[in-house]
């Protein structure tokens, strides 16, 4: 009877259904990164697939498939303008995988889909590497393995228990390999897929300039900006000014960093006290700036190697932050900076061209004889405090001259309105001023033991240069809305327009429970970040150094990895072989004898005893009778009698090893091929 063909055997309907659903499940998290056209095409194909499963006559034919392939390809091209690159390539992969679903006939087709599914799962980590996604895709991957096990499990329905057991065993066997590859697979400092085929233009979080409305967008953004863990007791909330960018240049609409400042040496503090040590884990922002507490107090060479402390104590990374960035910093809460240089002073006094007469007259009203710079600052703050200024997240739109309109007409706005216009007023009054963009505050996560700083904590404030005191922080927003500074984040009090999570009464039991849950979830996420995602080439080097293998150079890693993988696989193989192969040397010798005899056509039936076998061999091959009789006699002596020595076992092993039967000239007749 011909052996049934397992490769091209017809598939079962439940296999087709299961693999289709798995493809849909694998695509689900990818949907948000794909153009809607790609998702729509996949949905269309899935509908066709289910229709074909329900009514086999509806299975698309060759021409329909060809047309669908063309449509799918064009669809990808139209949606992404490209068939390569991260998004374009993935879209093409999804489209082609979907089309293969319409071609599921034999088990071979199912296997192909299952293997491509593996690729689809892997590709998704180019988009997102969160814990939730990893767990989800892990489950999909296990499902894929189960499908493959079922597809290879012989004809007929394999009992699901067996499939589950084999899948579980395979998954467990893969676990040590995963650990080895995770620890030792050579890592690249730059992402491999960033080959210049596309630009990552979308930045996350803060922009590099300030104009009325830019921070406001952030305040309704519910995402995490960074986590900070304090080594020393955490400062009070109103002291948590997280410094990001320092903006020197102002034009008609916006504040920006400016390029005119000479790249002087990094600033050092003249005096410092209340030092705070902390560690920040910044979420990927695709920007360069890092956030430190006001004001960073390390010596310039104490900062991490891939960062740079610029003018105005702005710490930046040398490369855009594409994955979570962890860095240590030390800041002084009480400080005094050096007096600004002449160049800085000049730069910090420039005013935009659209300064109006009423702005000038307003400032002129503050300047009295003998008024110090500090008096002018106080006067400016008083202006915001006493006039009818409102703090709102939804300020009215401003026209051609936003600064003037805000100061004299709308008078309602958010921190960037106050900070931006206050700095201009100070410059008009002759006080050097600059705007600082960053975050204010942070939500302590007691479960994780760190502070969470959200995008909604984004803030802008002003620094003024006062003679004898250096740069001093002034927060004009506090003059209007002190709660923004010393209370919860502004958005939390706004109600309408804020994301849903802020609308639950935060102090109520439900709010507390939700907050606790959120803290817990965030701690888990932070741990995932710390242990898995942050495991960079640097950590890897540290690991290799720890193993004392530094001097073996770059190849060491690859070498260790290959060795470890080989070792783990070898151990698994050994364990598998041990199950199959008896350990007892006597039995092993006998098995070898049986294998050698099987090679010349004398196969022992599993239910055939040694003496019967020896006699049968003797009858079929008289030339082997004596040798086999002696060997089997030895085997019986070793295996079944009480009185035998290890020497007998060794003799048996020697005899068997020396026994190499040649095939008979005339092959034994069918009568002899028992079993």
């Amino acid at each position: 009877m011909a052996k049934p063909d397992l490769i091209d055997a017809p598939s079962r309907r439940d296999q087709t259904l299961a693999i289709t659903l798995t493809v849909a499940a694998a695509y689900l998290p990818l949907g948000r990164f794909m153009a809607w056209e790609v998702s729509a095409f996949l949905a269309l194909v899935l509908v066709l697939r289910f229709a074909a499963a329900r009514w086999p006559a509806a299975t698309p034919g060759r021409w329909t498939l060809l047309i669908l392939t063309l449509v799918g390809g064009l669809n990808c091209l139209v949606a992404n303008q490209s068939l390569v690159g991260k998004v374009g390539g993935t879209a093409l992969l999804v489209t082609m995988l979907a089309l293969k679903l319409l071609e599921l006939r034999t088990r071979r087709d199912h296997r192909v889909v299952a293997i491509v599914l593996g690729l689809l799962i892997t590709v998704q980590f180019l988009f997102d590497r969160g814990l939730g996604l990893t767990l989800y895709l892990g489950a999909v991957a296990v499902m894929t393995v189960a499908l493959l096990v079922d597809l290879n499990g012989g004809l007929g329905a394999a009992p699901w228990r067996r499939t589950a057991a084999v899948t579980a065993r395979l998954t467990l066997q893969a676990a040590p390999l995963t650990v080895v590859l995770f620890l030792l697979f050579p890592r690249l400092d730059a992402p491999l897929w960033n080959l210049g085929l596309e630009r990552d233009t979308g930045t996350i979080g803060m922009t590099d300039h300030l104009e009325p409305g830019s921070v406001g967008e952030l305040v309704i953004n519910g995402e995490l900006a960074f986590r900070a863990r304090f080594a020393t007791p955490a400062p009070k909330r109103q002291q948590l000014y997280w410094r990001g960018l320092v903006l020197w240049e102002v034009d008609d609409r916006r504040w920006s960093q400016g390029a005119d400042l000479p790249p002087g040496k990094a600033d050092r503090l003249a005096q410092m006290a209340d030092l705070i040590d902390y560690e920040v884990v910044l979420e990927p922002s695709r920007q360069r700036w890092l956030f430190t507490l006001d004001l960073p107090a390390q010596a310039p060479d104490e900062y991490p190697a891939d960062t740079r402390l610029g003018a105005g104590f702005a710490l930046t990374a040398t490369a855009p932050i594409s994955s979570a960035k962890r860095y240590h910093a030390r800041s002084a809460l009480s400080y005094q900076t050096k007096a600004p240089s002449e160049a800085e002073r000049r730069y910090a006094l420039q005013v935009p061209r659209n300064v109006t007469a009423r702005m000038r007259s307003l400032v002129a009203g503050w300047s009295r004889d003998g008024a110090t710079d500090w008096d002018l600052v106080q006067a400016g703050l008083n202006f915001f405090n006493h006039e009818e200024f409102h703090y709102t997240l939804l300020p009215p739109r401003l026209g051609a001259n936003p600064w003037d309109e805000f100061l004299f007409e709308t008078r309602s706005g958010f921190c960037e309105h106050y900070a931006g216009s206050f700095a201009i007023l100070m410059r008009l009054a002759g006080v050097p001023a600059r705007v600082v963009l960053g975050y204010l505050g942070g939500e302590p996560n007691r479960i994780g033991g760190y502070h969470m700083v959200w995008q909604s904590d984004a803030h802008a404030w002003v620094e003024v240069a006062i003679a004898g005191r250096g740069w001093v922080r002034v927060d004009p927003t506090s003059a209007v809305a002190s709660f923004r500074v010393d209370n919860q984040g502004a958005s939390r009090l706004l109600g309408a327009g804020a994301p849903l999570r802020f609308q639950i009464d935060a102090a109520g039991p439900l709010g507390r429970a939700i907050r606790q849950l959120r803290y817990l979830a965030d701690s888990v996420d932070a741990a995932w970040q710390g242990w898995v995602l942050d495991f960079s080439s640097e950590e890897q080097k540290r690991l290799v150094d720890g193993l004392g293998l530094r001097e073996y150079g770059e190849l060491a890693l690859a070498g260790i990895m290959m060795t470890s993988v080989a070792l783990v696989m070898g151990l698994i193989l050994l364990a598998l072989m041990r199950q199959a192969q008896p350990q007892d040397p006597v039995t092993r010798s006998y098995s070898l004898l049986c294998r050698r005899l099987a090679r010349v056509g004398l196969t022992r039936a599993s239910g055939e005893g040694p003496a019967d076998f020896a006699r049968r061999v003797g009858a079929a091959r008289p030339d082997l009778a004596v040798a086999v009789g002696q060997i089997v006699g030895l085997y019986v002596r070793c295996h079944f009698t009480a009185h035998h020595t290890t020497a007998d076992g060794e003799r048996l092993a020697l005899r068997v090893r020396a026994f190499r039967p040649r095939a008979a000239r005339h092959p034994p007749g069918p009568r002899d091929q028992r079993g």
Binding site: S606, E608, G609, P610, D612, V636, R637, F640, A642, G675
Partner: protein, 319 residues
């Protein structure tokens, strides 16, 4: 498997002569049944009871009688009929007027070798009287326990149960027989000799004993000294496990069957002149030791002797 006797690998120990003599003498009277004779002798050496199942007239009774003569055992025969009473088997207490007391008159069961002829013709009540004695090796009459002689063997014969007027033995009682063998018709050549030759019964009557009681006791002792190494124990265990797992049987072999299987294998090994058991010994006794204890899963519940034995032996790998 039938008829494939294991090769003797080591030179025969002295006791082989005695057993070979017994087998040779038996083979001279019961022609063409060497394997069945060897099994019957192995059964007795393993201290087991023997059930011979076959059609009338194939020599069941002759075999039992012959074994008694050869082994030098005191012999009695009970013909089981449908009106047989337990007292007919065990014996009765009779009041003796002279002594003014009851005196026990032992029944035919108080013999070293009891032939229970056509055991399935008697009612279950009479059957159980004998079967209990077989297991306990003693009988209790009028509150007094009386030991049966030693050695004590029962050789029961049974007609195939599809014959009219039979009470088939229940499985629980079949389990008490170490072996069930079948004789079958003799091969044509041997049957010719049989027809031409002397009356077998007369030959049996003339046959002198070959073994003494002491010889038999010594041989039985030797059986328990035969080595069964761990692989053999595992093999027996695997056979038991297989019958318990297989869907072919309603229930598998009992632990008692396992003990019997190993002991019968040892006796078989001893008859082959070995002091250790090899897998072939186990295989040789499996058909006789196991099949009568198994109930088939098919509707009829009957199992074909040789087919089932071959199935079990092919399915269980030899160590």
């Amino acid at each position: 498997m039938k008829g494939s006797l294991p090769t003797t690998i080591h030179p025969d120990p002295p006791q082989a002569n005695l057993t070979e003599q017994v087998l040779a003498a038996a083979g001279a009277i019961i022609l063409g049944k060497e394997h069945a004779l060897r099994l019957a002798l192995a059964c007795l050496l393993a201290r087991g009871h023997l059930l011979i199942e076959d059609l009338p007239g194939v020599g069941k009774t002759t075999l039992a009688h012959l074994l008694a003569r050869l082994l030098g055992l005191q012999y009695s025969r009970i013909q089981f009929t449908s009106d047989l009473l337990p007292a007919d088997v065990i014996g009765v207490s009779v009041y003796e007027r002279d002594n003014e007391r009851f005196r026990f008159h032992p029944g035919p069961v108080f013999s070293q070798l009891v032939l229970a002829d056509e055991i399935n013709r008697a009612t279950p009540k009479a059957q159980s009287a004998l079967l209990e004695a077989m297991e306990e090796r003693q009988v209790t009459v009028d509150g007094e326990t009386r030991p049966l002689p030693d050695p004590f063997f029962v050789i029961a014969t049974q007609n195939p149960s599809y014959q009219i007027g039979t009470y088939p033995l229940p499985e629980s009682q079949l389990d008490r027989f170490l072996m069930r063998i079948r004789l079958g018709y003799p091969p044509a050549a041997q049957e010719k000799v049989l027809l031409a030759g002397e009356d077998r019964r007369a030959m049996v009557e003339r046959q002198p004993a070959i073994l003494t009681a002491a010889d038999l006791a010594r041989l039985q002792g030797l059986v328990s000294q035969v080595t069964a190494t761990a692989p053999i124990i595992d093999y027996c265990l695997a056979i038991l496990q297989f019958t318990r797992r297989s869907e072919r049987f309603v229930h598998g072999l009992s632990p008692r069957a396992g003990v019997g299987l190993l002991r019968a294998s040892k006796a078989w090994a001893l008859l082959a002149g070995r002091t250790y058991v090899i897998p072939e010994d186990v295989q040789a006794v499996v058909p006789a030791c196991c099949i009568h204890r198994l109930v088939g899963g098919d509707a009829a519940g009957r199992l074909d002797h040789d087919e089932v034995a071959a199935l079990i032996l092919a399915a269980v790998p030899v160590p």
